[in-house]
Amino acid sequence: MALNKIPETKLGVISRSFKDLSFNFTQNPTTNDVNILKNEEAIKKSVKNLLLTKYRERLFNPYIGSNITAYLFELSSFIDTASIKDETQYILNTFEPRIVLQNVQVFVDEDNHEYNVQVSYFIIGEPILQVADIVLTREM
């Protein structure tokens, strides 16, 4: 499958560095400060957060999120797979401006009632294709 082109307006943009808080709240042995997530890790965490956020979960911002986890409790079908893919594309294109989405693949693991969502994207300003694997389970 051919990769999506990076929009011309975003070509030549130099990627900033991104620093985000790690919710593990573990201590960095060198700085003795809380650990932080940087660049690709920070964006990958953001992608996961967006996919796993349900509608109305964010305070005063009910439209952020997706309905993806609800499909885990449906009978598995190709419609669900397509829906998860659509929702993933919509939410990342809408709420994560730091990436250019390339591809979303959804794999079904019916025996374990799981979906494996594989998201491929470019960070704007960087030529390396990033891949984030997110496993959707009922225990989330």
């Binding site: 900033r16 560095s17 991104f18 620093k19 985000d20 808080l21 790690s22 919710f23 932080i36 997530l37 920070a42 965490k45 953001s46 992608v47 957060n49 967006l50 956020t53 964010r58 305070l59 005063f60 911002n61 952020i64 709420f95 994560e96 401006p97 730091r98």
Partner: protein, 648 residues
């Protein structure tokens, strides 16, 4: 460089708070993913902003509850009012003043009523009990016994007993019920009766007194002295609190009572219970009166500061208003006028006009009760006088054009919506006050907003004035509507459409104007309305009218007049009463999808109804009439006398 300035967290809005925190993080060097919605930091900022908003909201609400103007919880309003020395009104029992007498008790030395239920009355399926809290005794003279002018309170007795225990630091003497009439509370300590006080005047360290305080959840607490202001209770003493639980204002206006058998005949110390039917009952107060409910929050907010400024004495007009409200809580509208402002001035008099919540005027019994209480607060030789207010009814004829295709509501639903909107307007501040103003265009716009499918509303008001006749007495009836009336040469402006009876004429008679300022008495001869005579005058510019008649009907007479303006103002000492269509007036709903309008449907003019012709079978209700006399009377016979008795 790190920004260490404190955050200006002053807003109550989530987005504002979040942007303030974002701005703070922006000036830090540690993190920079704060404005990407998926980032961990963004989620953390959400929680921080929510927490700040939550705290700010709570502080705002708490601060509001500390002030009388802004507090919303009744307990807080009561608490603040108490600091101003104001005790909000609790439920008050309705009272009735009666005389019980019997001529069938010759076998006894005297008759006795024990504390408990004396009368009962049933209204709308509910029974109300009226009781006495003291023993009443009437001696038998010549076989007759009479309990004169006994005052009974509505409700039921309850009591609670406490044992004083100073080991319990938190012991409070709380009455566990709501709906308690605080004036009915009596307290005995070791069987010694204590006196309720409302201030600390004439109290010493040994005074056997108690205070009643309103606490949370509309409950009452009994508070005793501390050996400085009143006697302090000793450890182990037993105290009993007796009180009445009442139905409040709902028991006002009852007229029909039956005697419960709680009356005993005593002969040589032997007591025999007497049947209630050997006693005759006279209700001196006409009906039950004076019951009231918990004082509303808005009323407490209005009264507390004014009561504080009145300082338990009646000097200014506001003092009279606030003290009268305190004496008689059942007041809907009150207006106080100083005699010096009248024309001609009446120095040394204060006129108080009261409209009770039930009915339009207070009875003489209540009037005397209020005056007696009020005199305790008046200064010097000022004489308070209670006068009855006047009222003017406004009857509405409403046509609503709507499109059924634009709504799922039925015609009846729309009528209900309109009636609700009219009720709200009828009880709004501009109407429910002395000298209130009815604004037709305002009501029209409010009715138009009730439902989207209503495309047009036409409201046509008429004025109704009710006259209460003095029966079988030639009287001059006069009133000024103080609103200009229409003077259409082709139609009547002033009419009594239902008619009434006068002495000397068998048929029902009607008053209509002749568009020349005369009020003509008419009657139906067959189906034709024939004049009998001129009985009075009407001024169309001022709406003032007077007429002289000897009326024999014992029913109120409805006078309908057509106002020239759609803004109707009430004269002094008069309030407006907007009738809800159904009893008076009409609401017509027209579906524009299916109905072709005629000019009559949308005209803004309304005619005063013509006298209604009744069937002959109804014409004989006037027992004072004389048919022969009727045939021979002329217009001159009914021409008013000079200086007739001014009755109304």
């Amino acid at each position: 460089m790190k920004n260490t300035r404190p955050l200006p967290v002053t807003s109550l809005d989530f987005d504002d708070l979040k942007s303030v925190i974002q701005e703070f993080v922006k000036n830090q060097t540690d993190f920079n993913s704060y404005n990407y919605l998926g980032s961990n930091l963004s989620m953390l900022l959400d929680i921080l902003a929510y927490n700040s908003q939550f705290t700010a909201y709570n502080i705002n609400m708490v601060a509001n509850e500390l002030s009388l103007e802004t507090s919303t919880f009744r307990d807080n309003v009561v608490s603040i009012a108490k600091r101003l020395g104001y005790q909000p009104k609790t439920y008050t029992s309705s009272k009735v003043n009666v005389t019980l007498s019997s001529s069938s008790v010759s076998a006894y030395d005297y008759v006795k009523i024990y504390p408990g239920t004396v009368l009962s009355s049933t209204n709308e399926g509910k029974t109300y009990l009226f009781l006495t809290n003291t023993v009443l005794i009437a001696t038998v003279n010549n076989g007759n016994a009479s309990f004169n002018n006994i005052e009974l309170k509505e409700g039921q007795f309850f009591d609670i007993t406490y044992i004083v225990d100073y080991n319990d630091e938190n012991q409070r003497f709380i009455i566990p019920n709501t709906y308690v009439d605080s004036d009915s509370i009596t307290v005995t300590v070791q069987n010694i009766p204590y006196t309720r006080k409302k201030d600390i005047l004439n109290i010493n360290s040994n005074s056997t007194i108690f205070f009643v305080d309103q606490i949370q959840d509309q409950k009452l607490e009994v508070i005793f002295g501390d050996n400085i202001i009143g006697r302090k209770l000793e450890n182990g003493e037993t105290l009993q609190i007796k009180y009445i639980i009442t139905n409040g204002s709902i028991a006002n206006g009852l007229r029909n009572f039956s005697i419960n058998s709680n009356i005993y005949g005593i002969k040589n110390t032997q007591e025999t219970i007497l049947p209630g039917n050997i006693f005759s009952l006279t209700v001196n107060s006409e009906n039950s009166y004076g019951g009231s409910n918990f004082e509303s929050i808005s009323s407490i907010k209005y009264n507390a500061p004014r009561y504080y400024s009145a300082q338990n004495r009646a000097v200014t007009l506001d003092d009279y208003e606030i003290i009268t409200r305190r004496i008689y809580p059942n007041i809907d509208l009150i207006r106080v006028i100083g005699g010096e402002s009248l024309n001609p001035p009446e120095y040394g008099k204060v006129y108080i006009s009261i409209k009770p919540t039930v009915g339009e005027i207070i009875n003489n019994f209540t009037r005397n009760l209020i005056l007696n209480e009020l005199r305790k607060y008046t200064v010097g030789s000022v004489v308070p006088i209670i006068i009855s207010p006047e009222s003017i009814n406004i009857i509405l004829f409403i046509t609503a054009l709507f499109q059924k295709s634009k709504t799922t509501l039925s015609e009846q639903n729309i009528i209900d919506l309109l009636i609700n909107a009219i009720s709200l307007y009828a009880y709004s501040d501009t109407i429910k006050t002395f000298e209130g103003t009815y604004d037709n265009s305002k009501l029209q716009s409010e009715l138009l907003d009730t439902e989207e499918s209503i495309s047009s509303i036409i409201v046509r008001p008429l004025i109704k004035k009710i006259i209460y006749p003095n029966i079988n007495q030639e009287c001059k009836y006069s009133f000024c509507l103080r609103n200009k009336l229409k003077n259409n040469l082709e139609k009547i402006t002033f009419s009594t459409p239902e008619g009434f009876y006068v002495n000397g004429i068998a048929e029902k008679v009607y008053i209509v104007d002749d568009n020349k300022g005369n009020l003509i008495l008419k009657r139906y001869i067959g189906s034709k309305l024939e004049p009998i005579g001129v009985i009075g005058n009407i001024e169309y510019e001022t709406g003032c009218f007077d007429f002289i008649l000897n009326i024999s009907s014992d029913t109120p007479i409805n006078i309908i007049a057509n106002p020239d303006s759609t803004i109707i103002t009430a004269p002094p000492n008069t309030f407006l009463d907007v009738s809800i269509p159904g009893t008076d007036g009409t609401i017509t709903i027209i579906d524009r999808d299916t109905y072709t309008l005629s000019p009559n449907d949308i005209t803004e003019n309304i005619d005063v109804p013509n006298p209604i012709l009744e069937s002959d079978s109804n014409n004989n209700s006037n027992t004072n009439s004389n048919t022969n006399l009727n045939l021979t009377r002329t217009i001159d016979d009914l021409t008013p006398e000079i200086n007739p008795l001014q009755c109304n």
